[in-house]
Symmetry: C2
């Protein structure tokens, strides 16, 4: 059989399993996830052994330190995968929930019922923990999942996926509901992206290159998030204490993640008071500041920010700083350079807070809070499958409910259309 036929057959098997998953009772899905967690914990040694093969191969191929770090499975990482599955098992099952029933003039009662999406394809890179995290969340939402991890983690992924399948089977669910694509060639991804009849949604998780490749080649809807160029705007009359706390937290608490701040905008009336205070704190924290001309007049030690800096997702202890004339200037800058991820205003003014919240159309817009809160866990969604910066279906952090959709339901008593 050709790769095309193989992928089609695999997807058809997963689709058949998805029908069973869609009707699985909550307790059975919970049982499967708990069993998965137990199996991962009990087999930690075996997983670490399989992971070693991937690590050795990675060393041989000369992969970067960062890549190898993401690839490595330790005992604590295995336990954290297991904990993740237990946490997902404890979430409220969204499937079957009826809402919004209204009686229509014809007498029919029309409402909505939440249902699983069906088959979800996850295409990811080195991290083997995605295998368990994504599979658990998709399964709990009543979906089946096709996992296609990177070639560099194939041994780890295979070992994890086998245990996940055992967990499904032990609860009476079909093992095909979590299926790992064993072909690590990129042509397997290409074939997968053609299967619009079998796969309902593709979620790529990884670098921008992978995501662009998926978007360019997919006939299936893709939910994606390229990068996070998050902004904070310090408004005229903002509390300098609040602003300092928020900006420093948003930049330094964990600079390597997508919800850390990358560009700071400061109202011209506050720049002179605020920027020197900030520079003192940032200098202690080892943060490099790159400013516009006006910022550098106030804090001459800043490096010069170029056009590139306004686009930059540093993921590092670097921040771009710009003095703006007013709120219009701040919103115009954000509209031009933001990545639709997260923006925050620090202000004491009610009207401007509400205007910022209303007019900035990123997926998360905040007043007086650190951008670092932009996260499914912090928002109360439970585990997060990803962040969407495209507006269709979901916008912002995505939880279990975003892996479902709603159908219309109608309760009639024999009504016909006049």
């Amino acid at each position: 059989m050709s790769l095309k036929d193989d992928m089609k057959k695999l997807a058809l098997d997963v689709k058949a399993a998805s029908k069973k998953m869609a009707n699985a009772p909550t307790e059975i899905k919970r049982e499967a996830l708990i069993n998965m967690a137990v199996l991962l914990t009990e087999n930690a040694d075996k997983l670490i052994k399989e992971n070693k093969k991937d690590l050795e191969e990675a060393e041989k191929k000369g992969l970067s330190r960062a890549m190898i770090d993401r690839l490595a499975l330790t005992e604590s990482r295995v336990l954290s995968m297991a904990d993740g599955l237990k946490e997902v098992a404890s979430l409220t099952d969204p499937v079957g929930e009826i809402s919004n029933i209204r009686k229509r003039p014809s007498g029919i009662q029309v409402g909505k019922m939440r249902i699983p999406l069906g088959v979800i394809g996850i295409i990811y890179e080195a991290r083997p923990n995605v295998t368990a995290d994504a599979a658990g969340l998709c399964a709990m939402a009543g979906n089946a999942v096709i996992l296609r991890g990177g070639s560099e983690s194939i041994n780890s992924n295979r070992a994890v996926a086998e245990l996940l399948q055992q967990g499904l089977v032990s609860a009476g669910l079909p093992k095909e509901a979590v299926t790992l694509v064993q072909v690590t060639d990129r042509t397997a991804v290409l074939e997968m992206l053609q299967l619009e009849e079998e796969i309902d949604l593709i979620i790529p998780r990884g670098g921008e290159g992978l995501i662009r490749f998926v978007v360019e080649n997919s006939k299936i809807p893709v939910i994606k998030h390229y990068k996070g160029v998050c902004h904070i705007f310090v408004d005229e009359g903002a509390s300098h204490d609040k602003a300092l706390n928020i900006v420093i937290n948003a930049k330094t608490q964990r600079p390597g993640v997508c919800n850390s701040v990358e560009t700071l905008l400061v109202h011209e009336k506050d720049a002179e008071g605020f920027l020197p205070l900030l520079a003192a704190k940032f200098s202690k924290a080892g943060v490099e500041m790159r400013g516009c001309e006006r910022s550098r007049e106030i804090v001459p030690s800043m490096k010069v920010a170029t056009e590139e800096d306004w686009h930059a997702e540093y993921l590092d202890l670097i921040i771009a700083i710009k003095v703006v004339d007013d709120m219009d200037g701040a919103i115009a800058h954000i509209n031009e350079y933001c990545s639709l991820h997260t923006e925050s205003i620090v202000t004491e003014d009610y009207t401007r807070a509400m205007r910022f919240i209303r007019e900035v159309n990123s997926s998360v817009v905040m007043a007086n809070a650190s951008t670092r809160f932009s996260d499914g866990g912090q928002f109360g969604l439970g585990a997060e499958i990803g962040i969407s910066t495209t507006k269709l279906h979901s916008f912002g952090p995505m939880g279990i409910e975003d892996l479902t959709t709603q159908k219309f339901i109608v309760f009639g008593e024999g009504q016909v259309r006049e």
Copy 2:
């Protein structure tokens, strides 16, 4: 300039207009739509004159009668476009609505706010009324729209679009918020489908060929609906009166539309009692019945249904009929052949009604009602932009709210992440 550059420039202008539309107050959007309606009514003669050019061209080209009928603008059709705009103007504006605010353990208040999608591309065939219907609904939801109608209706569409733009301008809104693509070549569609940075959603409206072309070539998310192969299942013990009313209404009230029934499934225990009654009614109504072997044993005058009939969207006074062993048989048949549009059960049994509602995962699932109710107007959505049979974003009839999305909003008081 090349066509590629032209389309890019056009889309950038529309995108700029979409920012203004997103912030337009409800009253202003209403005013624009009412003005559009008045302008269409006042200029009915002119529209009919422009439409004549298209009709003459269509005759020359030898287009089908059905196509020419869809293309024709009469005074009553123009008035009905105007009425449609007024109706949309009266809908509740979904933009800016805050919902679901919850206080999180960190102290931040997290909720959602409804926002427009941005730029919507509508690709359609001969009907010039789509120009006004789609533009009005998109604009009321705070979006800008790029309209690309078929070449056969270019003169009509141009005349309608000009009046719509005048309506926008008269309310102080940018005319680019409703932009008609004047290039009728299909390469213009191809170029449009590449503009993923500028266009947020594509909705194709027309035949299956057009829709497949759009899906195959689009880098932008597409909401689509290929066809409606709707089923009714007459359950064991169903009221034969209810069943007759519903089946006859669903088939004959307006057979040419996608929510009319195409396949009837009958429980074997009721087939003998029910099918002869139905055959008598259908024979009077001029409906051709095509049955499975078991149905034909009961009503031998039926034609033979072949595999093709189970897939057929007749859009005509023809119905396929199958006797099934039980509910499992009915659900299995529906799962295999349905187009995810609308299915209905006629039953007096509570448990089986709920099971059908739960397990049939079409976009609309009914108990004891005619499939003909599957419609945005009947469901209380107001005007309908289309029906989605793909699960992402929207599933089923789509109204004004489906032309928006939700962003997360956070009200803080200086909180930072621990």
